[in-house]
Amino acid sequence: MAPELGQYALVLAIIVATVQAIVPQVGAYRRDAAWMGVAPAAARVQFLLVLFAFGCLMVSFISSDFSVVNVFENSHSLKPLIYKISGVWGNHEGSLLLWILILTLFGAAVAQFGQNLPPTLQARVLSVQAMIGVGFLAFILFTSNPFSRLDPAPFEGNGLNPLLQDPALAIHPPFLYLGYVGLSVAFSFAVAALIEGRVDPAWARWVRPWTLAAWCCLTAGIALGSYWAYYELGWGGWWFWDPVENASFMPWLAATALLHSSIVVEKRDALKSWTVLLAILAFSLSLLGTFIVRSGVLNSVHAFASDPTRGVFILAFLVFVVGGSLTLYAIRAPSLKGGGLFRPVSREGTLVLNNLLLSTACFTVLLGTLYPLFLDAVASEKVSVGPPYFNAVFVPLMTPLVAALAIGPMLAWKRGDLAGVLGRLKFVAALAFLTALAVAWYAWDIMPLAVLGLALVVWLGLGVFREWAERVRLFRWDIVDSWRRARGLPRASYGMSIAHLGVALMVLGITASETWQDEKQLIMRPGDVETISDFELTFIGAEKVPGPNYSATAATFVVTRNGQPVTILQPESRIFPNPPMETTEAAIRSTLAGDLYTVVGEGDGLGGHAVRLYYKPLVIWIWLGSLAMMVGGMISLSDRRHRIGAPSRKQAAEPGTKNRDPGALAAAGAGD
C-alpha cells in the first residue's frame, strides 16, 4: 500500500511543481499579485507531498517489504534498524528522492523565510526552483522509480553494501545533498535576478544566508565523507581525488568563492556579474557531479550502478538548466551595471584574488576529473589522473590563498594600505619565519613542504588572532574597552575568524600527518611486541567473532607507553555474506596529539596475522579544522543581519563613507 501512495504523491508533486514553475513566472511578468501568490503555497504543498513519498519509502524499508525492487536490492531483514533507514538513501533511486526532498524543503523555506522579499523576486525564485523540481521529479518517475514492485516478492533482500553500513555514511549523504541542493537557491536567485535585470546589494544580502547554509552543510558532508574514508577504507588516507570526491569538492570551491564575492556585492555593489556567474556555476557543478556519479562516464570506486538512459536524461537536464541559465547570463550580464570601483590593494582586491585562486583551483579539479573522458573521446586513449596531478597543482594554488587570508581581512575597503597592514603583521611574519627555520632544521630531509605548511599555519593562525586583537584594540592597555569591543563585534566577524582559523588547523593537520607519520606493516603472532612512535603494542591475538550480519576476525592489541597502560585496541576484519565483501574496521586511538591507527588483515595460517600500524600526528585537526570552518559559517549565519534578511538600503547606499575610520570599518566590514 505504502509504495502506491508514495507513487501517487510523487505524481501529484510533479503536477504542483509544473504549476509552480509557470504561474508565478507569468504572474511576475504581468505584475499580477494573485498569480505570484501561487508560488509560496505551491512550494509548501510540493514539499509535503515529497515528504510523504519519502516517508512511504522509509516505511517499506523499515518493514522489509521485499516486494519493492529497491528494498529487495538494497536491504536485508537482518540489518540493524539504523541501516535499514539509511538504506533508503544508500542507493540511486532513494538518494534521488532524498535530493528532491531537500530541494522542495529549500523551496518551502524560501516561501517561509522569504516573505520580506520583493514579490516579483520571490515568485521568480520559486518558479526557477520549481523548474529544477520538475526536472528531477520527471527523472525519478520516468527512469528511476523507487517504488517499482516485484512479483512474486522474494523472501530475503540482497543487503546493503557493507562499506555503506556505517554511522558516518548514514548521515554523510543527507549533509552533502543539503549542500548541493542548497546551492540551487543561490542559483534560483541568480536566474531570477537575471530575469529581473537587477543585481544590487540587497540581492546579495538575500542570497548570502542561503549560500552560507549550503556551504556549511557541504563542508560537513565532505568532511564526514573524508573521515569515513579514513577509518573505514583502512588505508589511513583521507582523500583520494576520486571522481566522486571531486564531484563534491568542485561545488564546494565554487560556493566558497561565491560566499566571498557576494560580500563584495553586498558591501561595495561591485563584482555583480561575476557573482551571478558563480551562483550559476556552483549549482551547475553540483548537477555535473550528479551526472558524473550516476551516468557512469567516469570510473570510480563508489559510483552508483550506471545506466545509459539515466545518463542521457541527466545530460538533457544539465543542458537545459546550465545551458539555459548561461545563455540568459550571456544576454543579460553585459547590461548589469558595474558598481563601486576599487584599487587592486584593498579588501575587494584580496577577495578578487581569493576568487581567482578558488575558481582556478575549481577549474583544475574539473580538468583533472574530465581529462580521461576528453582523451577517451578524442583519441580513444584511456588514462587515469591521480593524486600526483592534483597535489602538484593544488599546493601552488593554496599557498598564496592561505598567505593572503591573513592580510585580506585587515585591509580597508576600496583602497587598502598594504604596507601598513604588513607592518602590523610584522611580529606574526617574524614568528612564521622562525617556525620555518625551526622546521627546516628539524625536517628538511623528510619533507621540504612541511616548512612551507607549518610557516603558513603560524602566519594564518596568528594573523587571525592579530586581526581580532586589532578590532578590539587588545594591545592598547585598556582591557575594559577591549572587552566591550569584543562583545560588540558582530557574530559574523567571529564566524569569519573561526572559519579562517579552521583553515589554519586543517593545513596543520595535513602537513603534520603527512610529514611525521610512522607506519609499519608486518605479520604479528600472539605475544609479539612492536613499537610505533613512542607506543608499545602487544599483539594478544585474533579470534573469530560473529556480528549481526557478518562474521569478523577481531584482533586485540594492548597499548602501553613507557610501560604505562594506555588503551586496548581491537581492529576487525569483517566478512559479509550478503553481498559477499570484506571490510576493515580500523581501531583508532584518537587524541588531539595524534592517532594510533591499527588494522588487522588475514591470518597467515601459522598463527600470525598481517597487521598495519600507523601513528599519524595531529591528523584529527584536519576534521576539527573543517568543523571549525562549518561552525564559523553557522555563527556567521546566526548573525542578526542575516536573520533579518532585509537589508537597510541606507547602509548599502553609502558604503564608501564608513570606511575612513578603521574602528568603524571593524564594525561595518565585520565577518567579511
Binding site: L315, I331, L373, D376, S380, L522, E582, E602
Partner: protein
C-alpha cells in the same frame, strides 16, 4: 568579471564613456564565454555517454601481449616476462598497493588462487616495491609471479587505463579479453569463470 575594473574613478567623463563602451564589447564576449565553454564540455559529456570507461581496450584485444621483462619485487624469486605466459589461460592482473579498488577484488583473486582455478600473474604498476611487498604480506599473495613495473612503461604497452585491470591471455600469449576495474563477484561468475572454463577445454 566585466564590472571589476580596477580604476580609481578619477578619469574624466569622455575617457570613461569610451572605456565604458570598450568594456561593454568585452563584456558581451566575456559573458558569452561560460556558455561556450559549457557547450564544449556538454559535447564531450554526450560523447562520454556512449563510451564505456570500463570498456575493453579494443586495440589490444586479439593481439599478442607486448614483449616485456620485468624485475621481481624485493624478496621474491621471480619477475615477470611475456615468455612466462605459457599456460592455456592465465590472468595478468595490474595492481598497486595505493589502489583502493584493488582491495575490493583482492579476496576474489585469493579465492581463485586457493582453488587453483587459473594462474595469476601480477603487474605491480607504478608502486613502491616495499609498499607492494607489505601489501602482499598483509592481505595475502595470490600471484604466481609478479613483475615490478616501476615507471609504468609496460602498463602503457598494455594500454592500462587505471588500476586494477585484468588481462586474460591465452596459450599463444594473445590477449583475449580485458576487465577494467575490480573483478566483482558478478563479473567473476558471469564472465570470467565461464571464459576460463571454455579456454581450458
Amino acid at each position: 568579471m566585466s564590472d571589476s575594473a580596477k580604476t580609481d574613478g578619477t578619469a574624466d567623463t569622455a575617457a570613461e564613456a569610451a572605456a565604458g563602451k570598450r568594456r561593454t564589447r568585452y563584456g558581451l564576449l566575456l559573458a558569452a564565454l561560460p556558455i561556450a565553454a559549457f557547450v564544449v564540455i556538454g559535447v564531450f559529456l554526450f560523447r562520454g555517454l556512449s563510451l564505456d570507461p570500463s570498456d575493453i581496450y579494443s586495440v589490444m584485444i586479439d593481439k599478442p601481449a607486448p614483449a616485456f621483462d620485468l624485475p621481481a619485487l624485493p624478496g621474491k624469486a621471480n619477475g615477470l616476462s611475456n615468455t612466462d605466459l605459457t599456460h592455456p589461460v592465465q590472468l595478468v592482473n595490474v595492481f598497486a598497493s595505493w589502489c583502493v579498488a584493488c582491495r575490493v577484488e583482492h579476496p576474489i583473486l585469493m579465492e581463485l588462487k586457493r582453488n587453483g582455478t587459473v594462474p595469476i600473474y601480477g603487474l605491480n604498476y607504478k608502486d613502491q616495491p616495499t609498499a607492494a611487498i607489505n601489501w602482499l604480506q598483509n592481505f595475502g599473495d595470490p600471484y604466481d609471479r609478479i613483475g615490478s613495473d616501476l615507471n609504468g612503461r609496460v602498463g602503457i604497452d598494455f594500454g592500462v587505463y587505471g588500476v586494477p585491470e585484468t588481462f586474460i591471455v591465452d596459450g599463444n600469449g594473445v590477449i583475449v579479453r580485458k576487465i577494467t576495474g575490480p573483478i566483482t563477484p558478478v563479473i567473476l561468475q558471469k564472465e570470467l569463470l565461464p571464459l576460463i572454463a571454455e579456454m581450458q577445454k
